[in-house]
């Protein structure tokens, strides 16, 4: 989860993020960040998340849970 937060922070150009942070609150959470996140989840976690999947994601923790759920599927 720590490593996951580091990756998200990197994409968002934030010093750090924690699991309760709402992605939509970041000015940088735009379509390019969404694209980068999808690519990162594939490369680092081996999961394929679509832009549609991300519509229901609010917080960093939601994204983490989605990633874990996809991994098991």
């Amino acid at each position: 989860m720590n490593d996951f937060c580091t990756k998200i922070a990197e994409i968002l150009d934030a010093e750090s993020v924690n699991e309760n942070d709402v992605l939509g609150d970041f000015q940088e959470w735009d379509s390019l960040s969404v694209l980068s996140t999808i690519a990162m989840l594939d490369a680092k976690y081996g999961v394929n998340v679509t832009a549609m999947d991300l519509k229901d994601v609010q917080t960093v923790a939601d994204l983490w849970n989605l990633t874990q759920a996809k991994k098991k599927a």
Binding site: E10, I11, E28, S31, S33, L35, S36, D42, N48, T50
Partner: protein, 251 residues
Amino acid sequence: MSQQPPYTLVTGASSGIGRAIAERLVRSRRLILHGRDNGRLEETRSACARPESHLLWTHDFRQVAQVAPALTGLLIGQGMAVDGFVHCAGAVHVLPARSARLEAVLESLNVNYVAAQQIIATLLKKRVNPGRLRSVVVISSIWSQFGARGHSLYCASKAALDGMVRALAVELAPDVRVNSVLPGAVRTPMAEAALADPRIVEGLRQNYPLGLGQPADVAAAVEFLMSEDARWITGQQFVVDGGRTVNMSHK
């Protein structure tokens, strides 16, 4: 020691396009199959005709300083010659420019370009592979010619590869032909997941006059460029993209 028939080296042979290239070239060549993961490489070898006549080379191209020594050791150790080289290993980092950390930049360059240059240098060495290399094909991308958001690392590394191809085509003629294949979007396991998104499917349908490609479509172009039928073709960027890059239709 070089009396046995020469091999063709295919890097990135455990992935979609690389594996398709291996399965295609195996009809006429003995292969050295390169990949990062030995297990997946074994799968590629099993899928090939006459699996026992092909060799595996496991190496992580992020360790780029070790590429030339490792390949040198392999060829001299086994007394093998290599007359063909296909570079299909690739790394993709999609990142906003503001997030392009050095590690990601170097990984893109090392895997996509530097490793290929080091392999070619090795295959041209007199004491390793004396005068045996004949044809090189690198897998570039239509993105080497154009831009896409988040793709500055990928576009730059593939453009480096294409620049190398043109220069080497001139430098190594007439003994060695060097070409690149520029695929568009191809159906690989990773792309299949994106195709679950109807908006992406609709976008691709509009952009690709011939629809999405298959790994075998790329492999067929590689086989042609590697063959004697392409004996008067060198230094070229061979676009295999279902018409994507010539499509100027209004959306």
